[in-house]
Assembly symmetry: C2
Homo-oligomer: 358 residues x 2
């Protein structure tokens, strides 16, 4: 079982502890954050990243903040609640899970009327804990479902970017079946694309899998095709940033290329993500906007100039993998198969109340 | 016309001038090298790189060295010739062109008997100049042949690594048709994969194309698939490190993946290389050994630790692109088409005396 966590409640006092991901893999430093402002700052600085983990961190930060203010007058308490909500929601404006988690606490507070500041604060604390626990359960459920897709007694798996424990409250999404398999004695040989430009594969995925004792090898993104041709892979599994109603998947740039290569080499290509990642309002991948990353992430790798300073750069943050290249989408509710418009609609119909609208 | 050169004769005195590629793109520094030892050192330190350029540099270095010794006794002159040959040949032992160029000068010296040191030194100088000139002509011929494959009035081209002026004595191989097209007013939009781990695409290809005034955009290797899907490319062209008798091509890692992606998207995939790159003794790509690069090129790519220090790494230096993915191989003798076993045999039958055996 992986002991890697992106964040946790502090043992003593009111605090959120966050593993500072900007310092990995060189240093493992836990930050103890005692206010909404400190949590917002950690989110802004990418010390905690990954959509689920950000949402959880924000909820915990709001709870910690309000626990400190339980003794205030009611008006002042509510004013502080507003301010903390606003600061946390603005930390990464485009992160859907962040707003969803904060709204869930806000609605709860509104529903409690004049129950008293202490009761409200405790209920918020409980709700943040519930969000963390639900995310853990979601990861575990994805891991169990996806585990059934792994060959035995050995699975040789390629992944891209980091959709692991460091991105969630639990054991991750794409990496979850690997942790489940490792628990059960499955032999694993994992390959992690380094994932330029920000190297989440070599910095984060390699770190957390090694921490769990799982055999992992990093490679330049461009070497994935060689692995496939050499016949040393059984499957590819990645996470998702957003999934359209037809099954098209937006994920870290490079995912689409890996999917094409997997198809060429006859390898299954799986996407693991919670149903909250599905955006029923996006009919297809064409409806998902793709932002460009800062050119200097490519031109100045890690501080050093590695290209002409003014060179033009093409660096989309994400790409769209069309549904026809995806063998299955594994959610906490089960394995979705093509045709995805039908299987996704069925999965969403089960129950959407508990999950963030995207 | 590109004014970018990897190396040249010094204007005054006996010297080879080399553009220090380890300092690009930040600084453009020409090194003036006055001895075989200095040239060998520059080759060892990768200040000059690319198989053709290394061979030319070695020949010029030997000529410069012997010009300084023309006044010595004959025995001492020959002893110096031996020593310089050995030092230069050992600078990068696996570089085929290096040994080929040196042997060509050595055979010439041997053939001159007791013509006198001055005559021998001058003849060596002339031969080194001939090797440089032949390489320039080879690049130009490749460029002219390959130019015919570019669409007009605009060509949108993806390349990988650096097979340009910086790798040769002339205008390069894969980049040669772009320089020819630019001369003739063809509108060009060039995309250069950054080419991890050593970033020859962003450091070198982007630099030399910008120098020539050609529109170039760099991208993470993993974004090439997105470009293809967006329909903004007309073709892919790359160089080659070795070509088997059946048309399989060994080139910088990542080339194979790009070839698969090009096939998936219906784009022509061209290889440009001199016939000297063809190894008739390798029946197929399976006969070409592929070395692994140093793991720290991936783990510490930018001087900073970007992966767990002990992480396993898969980093082949080259990969093999099977002939069936290659639309044409463009040599100085013309455009070779499938079936390559026949077209390659025909091309080699024309005349092999002038070219290095691989």
């Amino acid at each position: 079982m992986s002991d890697v966590r992106a964040l946790r409640w502090a043992d003593a006092g009111a605090g959120v502890e966050i593993l500072d991901q900007t310092l990995l893999p060189e240093q493992e430093v836990w930050l103890r954050l005692g206010s909404a402002a400190e949590v917002a700052s950690a989110i802004r600085d990418l010390r905690v990243r990954g959509a689920p983990a950000i949402g959880i961190a924000a909820a915990m930060g709001l709870a910690v903040e309000m626990a400190r203010h339980a003794g205030l007058e009611r008006d002042e308490f509510l004013r502080r609640l507003d301010a903390a909500y606003t600061e946390l929601a603005g930390a990464r404006p485009t992160a859907v899970n962040l707003r969803w988690a904060l709204d869930r606490l806000r609605r709860l507070a509104d529903s409690l009327g004049d129950a008293g500041n202490g009761v409200i604060a405790c209920k918020l604390w409980g709700e943040a804990t519930a969000i963390l626990d639900e995310d853990r359960a979601m990861c575990r459920a994805i891991g169990e479902h996806a585990f059934a897709l792994l060959p035995e007694p050995e699975a040789r798996v390629l992944t891209h970017c980091n959709a692991g424990a460091l991105a969630t409250g639990g054991i991750g999404t794409a990496l979850a079946p690997l942790y489940v398999g490792h628990e059960r004695g499955l032999r694993l040989k994992v390959y992690a694309d380094e994932t330029r430009p920000l190297l989440q594969g070599s910095r984060l995925t390699a770190w957390e899998l090694r921490r769990a004792g799982i055999d992992v090898t990093i490679l330049p993104d461009s070497a994935a095709a060689v692995l496939m041709r050499e016949g040393v892979l059984d499957l590819v599994i990645v996470g998702a940033d957003r999934i359209a109603a037809n099954g098209d998947v937006a994920n870290k740039v490079g995912t689409y290329g890996v999917a094409v290569l997997a198809r060429h080499h006859g390898l299954p290509f799986y996407v693991a993500a919670p149903t909250s990642t599905i955006d029923p309002h996006a009919a297809s991948g064409a409806a998902i906007p793709i932002e460009q990353r800062d050119a200097d992430e490519v031109r100045r790798g890690f501080g050093r100039l590695t290209a002409p300073a003014e060179a033009a750069v093409f660096a989309p943050a994400f790409d769209i993998t069309p549904a026809e290249l995806i063998s299955a989408i594994i959610t906490e509710r089960g394995i979705l198969r093509p045709p995805y418009d039908a299987s996704i609609a069925d999965a969403l119909a089960l129950d959407t109340a508990q999950h963030p609208p995207v």
